[in-house]
Symmetry: D2
């Protein structure tokens, strides 16, 4: 089995992005699966092109994209990506889409094929906070998650894919009062546990644990 793991480069006022830093530190094999790592730019459109190229070249069974969610407390596998770009800030190419569909001929949303509940449970089992999220936002994170699903819909029908958000690093919150963080080492441990769950659940339905949110 081959798993392509992507990570975004730094954006906004931050000089570092835990996503690509953690991805770079992943082992090359996890639970027997080959891990291929790709850095993608925090740029609408372009990040999808780079990922598409890697999928064509590597022919992975799974794509797991990693992105930073400043302010979140744990690692949060995402359930769904929506057909909507709406930037709170500009991307690294200076582009800030507002109220914009990603693909006119795409579905309103795509659900991930990843076993998000099993992933969250596996992450908690290694002693890290995790819960399933039902929003990847409206910036490049939701964008890449949607784009890869759109590629599955239109082109790579056997591919399975998904997205996971990770919190700030401690060094990113020294000037952000009352903001949670997780160490890079814990990010690596958490992503590894999530990938182990993906491998173990391959071909099976996700577990039916209680994870839902009220609101």
């Amino acid at each position: 089995m081959k798993i392509l793991v992507t990570g975004f480069d730094p954006f906004g006022d931050d000089k570092i992005n835990p996503a690509i830093e953690a991805v770079k530190k992943l082992p090359d094999k996890i639970a027997g699966a080959d891990i291929v790592k790709v850095e993608i730019p925090t740029i609408f459109g372009k990040c999808a092109e780079v990922t598409h190229e890697a999928i064509v070249k590597e022919k992975p069974d799974y794509v797991l994209s990693i992105g930073q969610a400043g302010g979140r407390f744990g690692l949060t596998p995402e359930r769904v990506a929506i057909n909507f770009d709406d930037g709170r800030i500009k991307d690294n190419a200076g582009y800030q889409p507002l109220n914009t569909p990603i693909h006119e001929d795409g579905q309103n949303a795509y659900f991930t094929e990843l076993p998000v509940k099993a992933m969250a449970k596996a992450i908690r089992k290694v002693g890290l906070p995790s819960s399933v999220s039902t929003t990847a936002g409206t910036y490049v994170c939701n964008h890449i998650m949607y784009q890869v699903q759109y590629m599955i819909d239109k082109e790579f029908h056997d591919l399975k894919a998904g997205f996971m958000h990770i919190p700030f690093l401690p060094e990113q919150v020294t000037t952000r009062p009352n903001t949670a963080a997780l160490s890079l080492n814990d990010d690596v441990r958490g992503i590894t546990a999530a990938i182990e769950a993906i491998v173990e659940m391959d071909g099976k339905k996700d577990i039916e644990s209680v994870e839902g949110s009220i609101a």
Copy 2:
């Protein structure tokens, strides 16, 4: 113009639900539109039946559903509803769906037809915290929002609809440390401002303000 406003009854450990309390206190006319109020039960399926009945009877131009989102800080118009029921707790009939699509023949998600950015802006203009949300959760709130959109898709093609979450009331947080609340009077003012924005924006595209979230 006629606007049907629904509010859920209390659920979980709470004896009161700000949603239905605020809906009951709305004026009968807002910005010239007739306001029809309906209490709906916190029960999967049943809440949609009651709403469907009211739509058939009242033939409204808009449906705005209101629900409680404990822990949120402001009034949050929802952008999107997903085809997914996943209860963290049982509903008022004792039913707790897990990993369950709402309608096999429905779309993965539906975007609201309401001008959510204009609504959030109007609420802030009357001095209350508000932002657009991209997740209505996976409980009855997302359920009713999805169900009404499904009705639009299949039956009431001219109807426009959406959902707004409101925080706990102060009396609900006396035993919940460090949890935000908003008074019932402020809920009524905020919902009224949101409805005024709906009326004012009728027939127009939503504004293109910066509201997006990173994560």
Copy 3:
């Protein structure tokens, strides 16, 4: 019985301070006690002079000072004031003390004579969030609480005094994401309930409810 209630004027970037707004709206009699209201400036030293003048003139039995604690979720009666000025921002006269004792001949700290647990309980009883706080910070709020206690220590031996923080108003958090607020009307209700508790507990020891914080 006569109770002097002071409230600070606006400071920092805010055009309004819930403290003085709420104090102004208090009734002139609460539980039989006469309520005398005084606006004090957000200025180190000067706020104490104005309060001292009012005490000399009004000869109150109690002084209750009210101040804004942006970010807190409820009304928080303060247990203790410390002999330490340390401004995160300048006061309204442009003065920003750092690492500075308030009075060289004052005690390190003074405990309030007010029944803070009974006050918090009374506030919760009227449906508002409240807990006892053990830090009034290091800005003008702690300063005035310390100064009045110092006056009791040196001059007004029979006076009883204390301080209560209140959260932002909703209108103050429209541009502050994820920050709690309470309405002015709720502030007035909460302060009134606290004063009723002060009157009722006059001459008695505070209740022994569980209110302590771990950290």
Copy 4:
């Protein structure tokens, strides 16, 4: 120079306490100072006895006590300890004091002799969140901080002492939603940085940086 570092054992529902775990992992020498480590029980009174014994035996120049502050986001050196025990829960001996002075003949509060601003700055410099706190609570953490200051007041006049709170470990928040954590390795790095600041500032006044809190 010799520095005695104490850490509490687990309490409440937790099977682990980051305080003693981090203390155990400290190097035996930091910035040339000898580090002596002592585990103390989460028991009012008893924790002070154990610390007193260690002071008599080791004759340290400094005592730094470490405790867990669940819910805090960073490492927080404490400025002040108050003469007040008020347990939210029982201690490990089943004792839960309420509204109780620690020593009838002690001062209302004692300020730490440690350079808390320099410590917080040093911790941030190694990439970890930190700020000075003005409340150590009313449980065993404030208790031990007060007790050691009382010993300085009455017995060990040349000793300097203080307290620092550290957040939950990640493994402690897997079942506590939206609660911040820091890894054990980061705790060790942060405490080490704080001790380096203590050694470097020995004999000097604390820095005058802006650290104060409004509320």
